[in-house]
Symmetry: C2
Subunit: 207 residues, 2 copies
DNA sequence: TCGATAGATGACCGTGAGGTCATTTTTTTG
DNA sequence: CAAAAAAATGACCTCACGGTCATCTATCGA
């Protein structure tokens, strides 16, 4: 096995390789069933090496989930708060963001992991709720409030239940993992249809 | 430990007890982590007894998932096909059915199990798709087609993506399992809001 | 060039769980 | 009531995996 120079970059690359391999395994066989030996092998390191970077299998999962979330939501938040576009346009942007997320296998796999194992790992559920769910919900609420204020939207139920906006992303994540071999799903089209429907309901018009 | 007479009823009761205990454990700690010893103890039998009724842990999971599905969907199908009510009424009925499902902890737990472990157990994913997903989708399609035919509905995207109708049930199942300790969700209200929104989009009216 | 130090390794340990089966208990039968 | 049959039991076997740590290796400072 080739050894690398001990630069910080090499260290980071190694951590990334371990996390990528772990996501692979966790996602494929589940957290419990995933074997550290396999993860180590896939990452090109020895099992002991994993313990130089992560305290335990559970911490590895946590670090992994945290690492995937990162910047994208923040970019959307900035874009939305800076924009002067009509609320319907912002909702479409949100939809495009979800569609993009649905295309990204890593993000989908992390989502599915959170939904599958989150109940058993409060730290992960908490983190995901704080960093993704609640931020996404706030964004949806802000957009709808804006549309209501401008008179563009005449209906505000989804402001009470922002989950209704995010639902198709969840459906896509679950479907692509569980039912895709049985029946294919065009996730971006699903999300687009959902946004379309939402806008019809919100504006009361067929545009 | 009390022994029971060997009537068929006793046998069935024992099978049910084992499956109930198994659902408990699988749902609480996941399939892999669930221990047969615990399931046996909770069911009031010895571990060996489980193997008199189920070939393996995996078969136990399959039997369990299959057993929960049962009749309720069929009742809804019959009710819908017999009804002469307007399509919007039928959609609300479907919503009520989902809301009821969201209240039933066992059904929710099975749903969550399927979504969590389904990818690893093709038999389960296949079964659930055939017995629940595709039947639910067909029902939604039929209702919307009826509404379109009668001129009641002026929009048909959800006919292409019946998943959009079912989405909030999935959201509810996942949310109640993963995020409920962090943020409560009123699942029936969520579903009602969703149906309301769907109807606005479908009819083009604010009723 | 040569210790010294930090990093990496993988054989090994302990534990715990799925599954088996000889034994025990209950029921049935003659 | 006794003996045979069926059902239930739980101690035990096997094996695999998370985690450890003595050993080895690469890098670096002098």
């Amino acid at each position: 096995m080739a050894r690398q120079a001990r630069t910080p970059e090499a260290r980071e690359a190694r951590v990334k390789a371990i996390m990528a391999a772990a996501l692979d395994q966790f996602s494929k066989v589940g957290f419990e069933a995933a074997r550290l030996d396999d993860i180590a092998q896939a990452a090109g390191v020895a099992k002991g090496t994993i313990y130089l970077y992560f305290e335990s299998k559970e911490r590895l999962l946590e670090a992994l989930v945290a690492s995937i979330i990162s910047a994208p939501l923040e970019a959307l938040e900035n874009s939305v708060s800076a924009s002067t576009a009509p609320a319907s346009e912002l909702l479409r942007e949100f939809g495009a963001f979800m569609a993009q997320g649905a295309q990204d296998a890593d993000r989908r796999r992390v989502m599915h992991l959170v939904f599958s194992e989150g109940a058993r790992f409060p730290a992960i559920a908490q983190f995901h709720h704080r960093e993704v769910i609640s931020r996404g919900a706030a964004l949806v609420r802000a957009i709808i409030a804006k549309g209501r204020a401008s008179g563009e939207f005449v209906y505000d139920e989804p402001e009470r239940f922002p989950q209704l906006m995010i639902a198709p992303a969840l459906v896509a994540a679950v479907w692509l993992h569980v039912f895709d071999p049985i029946e294919k799903l065009d996730a971006p089209a699903l999300i687009a249809a959902h946004v379309d429907m939402l806008l019809r309901a919100l504006t009361g018009r067929a545009d």
